[in-house]
Amino acid sequence: MTAVFARHGFPIAIGAIAAAFLGLFFLYPVLSVFGASVLDSTGTTFTWRNYGVVLASPFFLQALGNSLVVAAAATALAILLGVPFAFCVARLAVAGKSALLALAALPLVLPSFVSAYALVLMFGRAGIVTGALRAAGLPFESIYGLKGIVVAYTLTLYPYVVLPTVAAFKSIDASVEEAAQNLGAGPWTTFRRVTLPLIRPGMVAAALFGFVISFGNLEMTLFLIGPGRTTLPIAILQYLEWRIDPVIAAVSLLQIVIIGAAMVATDRYVKLARVL
């Protein structure tokens, strides 16, 4: 035993620290939430009833649906905007390339409520841009509501899409693309059939990140939420203002399961361990 430890002591120690860390701060909370979610309000009897309450509640289901739609829309938008930008930065002779890239990474540095606040200043009911648009006679209400949240998320996700995609474009061996052209593929076909498949793992990882981040976002949503339609984290917060009971634990666990499922599904197409 001591001999084994002498030889493998370092990896064992690191493994133990990691296991303790993950167990304490990840596994324990998840398990205690799970534990709470399967007890009735007295906290003594086992029951699946809390899940039944959640799945029968229009309030939570609608919020969940909104969260899914908003996260998916923001992710798709960020990809649509970010991938062409990443291509230009990685491949073309763009003036001020590094400045552009730094600018694209800026949302990573800003606390997300700062960018939300900036959006409110610009596009809120009394926002600068809102005023200008109205003065120009364009019909523009304000940014509040799910559409505004999608815009704000897109902004937040942008660096998560751009940075890995730039890296993916740069890591492609240029001669592979030249080979495609040499074999008779035009520039567009080369991009679609060779370049895009090669950056797909990076793109999928970026999309997953984006989805998870926007699905669980609370603070930015708080700024921009309109009356009526809400997202899941907001719904949980609202519910907690009235009462604390095991139903909340069940909702939280559902959210964890959805994100976990998204990761597992992605992993089937792209081995996440290889790209993250």
Binding site: E178, A179, A180, Q181, L183, G184, L198
Partner: protein, 355 residues
């Protein structure tokens, strides 16, 4: 099967003249090699033919067709890249079929051409394998099969063997040569390996600093190099600078340091200062009392730096005036110290003495 005309082609990158006015005519069905040290412009020239590098001036023609203004994907060249550039997301069959699909051939035709191309490079049965399962040599075969499957007008190979180990390199170059003969295709082959170039080519263009120094068959390149650079780059040589001190018809005595060497001087040359190229294998050690072959001249010196290389032995004979002569012999020298070494004046190549 196409003759290629490269006419006054040039390209600069910033201050560097990568290709500096090159004109070449490559014959239909010829195995033509661009040989030179790295940075000599050989790869740039090849990329110009493929269409990946624009020309500052000049023209390139395949037969009568001018191609330098044509997009790379419409030139119908087959290129084999140094790092293979096999598509990692396609299996072997998919790689070889790529160019055929781009040409929108019928499914049946694609299948039969893929099979034929894979058979040509001895990879039959590999269609379903993935690139990451293959060795370097197999990857290079896939790249070659992919390039010949489209039946290109010209096959372009950019240092295709430089990532392989020595033994496989020799094997593969033989296969490439055999494949070229089978298909009768025009090949432009880029390499920095002079032995490879000599072994495989119909003709070689030796390049330096963006210019062509000499274009000839391998034997002419080796036996009658046009200048000191070609003599030194293609094979090893003793390059000795000297002054012509006596002429008698074609025969001249050249003073190198304090040693007089005899050489054949072409009639028309009126050179005064010359460089002599004397191949190490043209020198022969003469044992005590042994008579040199008729017409050979003998020099004496001391034996140094004996390197036994198996098939041959390389050593240096330092002449009395300090001039070192590199010698290559089939048998290791038996003696030590003072030796005599003989050469045939007919094998001394006289070159213009350029700095």
């Amino acid at each position: 099967m196409t003759a290629i005309t490269i006419d006054g082609v040039a390209r600069s990158f910033g201050d560097v003249r990568a290709v500096d006015g090159v004109s070449l005519v490559i014959r239909d069905g010829e195995f033509f090699t661009l040989l030179g040290p790295s940075g000599c412009g050989k790869t740039t020239l090849l990329r110009m033919v493929a269409g990946f590098c624009e020309l500052d001036r000049g023209r390139i023609l395949f037969g009568e067709r001018r191609v330098d203004t044509v997009a790379p994907h419409r030139r119908n060249t087959g290129m084999v890249f140094q790092n293979y550039a096999v598509f990692p997301n396609l299996d072997v069959g998919g790689n070889v079929a790529y160019g055929l699909k781009a040409r929108k051939l019928a499914r049946q035709e694609i299948a039969s051409k893929v099979e034929r191309a894979l058979r040509l490079v001895r990879l039959d049965g590999f269609a379903g394998r993935w690139p990451h399962q293959l060795s370097g040599g197999q990857l290079q075969r896939v790249a070659i099969a992919r390039a010949v499957a489209i039946e290109p007008d010209v096959l372009l190979l950019d240092e295709p063997l430089s990532n392989l180990d020595a033994k496989l390199r020799v094997e593969m170059r033989g296969e490439i040569r055999a494949l070229q003969r089978t298909l009768g295709i025009t090949v432009i082959y880029v390499t920095h390996d002079q032995e490879e170039a000599l072994a495989i080519s119909d003709r070689i263009a030796v390049m330096r600093a963006g210019r062509v120094e000499q274009v000839d068959a391998p034997r002419v390149i080796y036996d009658a190099p046009a200048n000191g650079f070609v003599a030194g780059f293609v094979g090893a040589t003793n390059l000795l600078r000297g002054v012509v001190v006596r002429r008698d018809g074609e025969v001249a005595d050249v003073l190198v340091g304090a040693t007089t060497l005899r050489a054949r001087l072409p009639r028309q040359t009126s050179l005064d200062r010359v460089a002599l190229s004397l191949r190490p294998e043209a020198l022969r050690l003469i044992a005590d009392g042994e008579a040199p072959p008729a017409g050979w001249r003998v020099l004496s010196g001391t034996l140094e730096d004996v390197e036994y290389l198996g098939a041959v032995t390389r050593f240096t004979v330092r002449l009395a005036d300090g001039t070192p002569l590199s010698v290559m012999a089939l048998t290791p020298p038996s003696g030590t110290g003072d030796v005599a070494v003989a050469y045939d004046p007919a094998r001394v190549v006289v070159l213009e003495d350029k700095a």
